[in-house]
Symmetry: C2
Amino acid sequence: MNKQEFFRQILRGKANSPRDNATAFAPSNIALAKYWGKRDTELNLPCNSSISISLGSLGTKTTLRASNQDRVVLNGEEIPLDKPFAAKIINFLDYFRANLWQGAMEVITENNIPTAAGLASSASGFAALTLAANDFWNLDLDTKTLSAIARIGSGSAARSFWQGFVKWQRGKNPDGLDSYAEPLALAENSPSRNLRLALVKIDEKAKKNPSRDAMIHSAKTSPYFSAWIATAEIELHKIEAAITSGNIQELLQLAESNALAMHAVMLASRPSLLYLQAESIVAIKKVWDLREHGAEIFFTIDAGPNLKLLFEENADTRAIIENNFPSAIFVNPFA
Amino acid sequence: MNKQEFFRQILRGKANSPRDNATAFAPSNIALAKYWGKRDTELNLPCNSSISISLGSLGTKTTLRASNQDRVVLNGEEIPLDKPFAAKIINFLDYFRANLWQGAMEVITENNIPTAAGLASSASGFAALTLAANDFWNLDLDTKTLSAIARIGSGSAARSFWQGFVKWQRGKNPDGLDSYAEPLALAENSPSRNLRLALVKIDEKAKKNPSRDAMIHSAKTSPYFSAWIATAEIELHKIEAAITSGNIQELLQLAESNALAMHAVMLASRPSLLYLQAESIVAIKKVWDLREHGAEIFFTIDAGPNLKLLFEENADTRAIIENNFPSAIFVNPFA
């Protein structure tokens, strides 16, 4: 199945009465059990399930508006349509327009993720765009379906529809309709609600290896790719169990190991993919040193150089992070 | 089988007429197909075969001399016998003395490996000590047997008995007598003889994780250990074929991939083993950048932070290395 057919299947028979405009917000998310490897590159279907934590109020707000010509505006600045950022958005909307009202549109998108956070915004961006599209065209799709649609734009966008812990099921079907995310339920007083993040930016430059291409390269060339996939599903179940049982220390430990296992798969790719920079190593060793001295601080790292510190809310731990990573941006996923 | 039995089996029936003194030299070596993982920790038997290149005149010269008390002198400085360096040497000699003449001995050992090279000296050290012991006790053992003996002191010492390319066969027997090294034969005009090294020291501090313990930890905890071992033997054959066929560019590429695959196994261990330092990453990225600009420079890295650059002898390449790594120490393994 290709993308056209995927959208046609979902949008078939939908009413065709767009609003003047629609606005939606989606939070960014950080994977604790990583997604690395596609079983279908056309539909962005993953080899393994993944689990993320949302970033609360940090994310993307997007407005769609009927207009006389297509325009994309990011944080107040118009982006030429031949730039990849704008082209991807328009291309995504074209899959809707192929099946629905086909007029020109303005896309006004605002990221409130500070540049200093060193976070990609494609996850929250495609989730907000999908939510806005659902509203704009009055589609009334359920959130699972929206999650599967956003996945076409960016895999991790499937997880950006909820706050808190979210699990993206890899699914099995070739049409990808069973590959969507859902929130993980937590007890009201679960210690897992005490998870906090501190974003440590190493470098904000655009990635040299877009993760889409890098995943394909890893799958083809890393001698550890099959072991990564084989262990990823086992790891995921352990991480899910730690979240739902409220064993937050176990969760943080597993999340750190999971991230390093992903970076090891990348490192062993041929040619090698080394996302860590010199300053990443300094920060990693600093975290380990603090932990040796009793501080319960862990980290995860996506396909980039930046660290996301993970800790259980505690004034002492927070003070240690503030002292050692003065530019860290603190995030409460549950606020 | 334990170490006592291993030595007893080899030394049984040997003449017992020590000389006054004996001196031997052994070159250091750098693995191009790495040794990482033991199938027997008592006898230092590896999970996989490995291939190294010698470091020419860089190595260890050791003299054994009958004396009135045990002494160990390193580069002119007496080392107290309760220090690990001296204790390991005396302990190694005790396995000989348990079966032969048992008098006290002086061990005078000189490393000519510059501190700036950032190289461990245990490989050349145990090879030189084994050669000197063979001479001191008039044992007349063949080099294969000496290689197997030196392996007990330090695995990589098995490869330090020859100049040029050396292959350490993992062996299969539980007594470890078939786990020894041998030189790889090269045609007189083989391009493989043009391999040169440039040693780039990142840090000379003692390793935090001795490789003996780290290998055991990796084997127990890294999700990629079995994939490493499964691919190591295949890689080794490719590397051996590149050496003997004189395909030096293929050899350098394979050696770099092999080293990174080993570091990936380490990184994925739990807790993680991260030997690379910030400056290692800077140096790795510099090599890759030079290569993108056409310079045929590769590297290997042992269980430590230092890079060993690998290149085919060529004035331009050498000049590029001199410019970019001003403190590099050049080595001709065939001089």
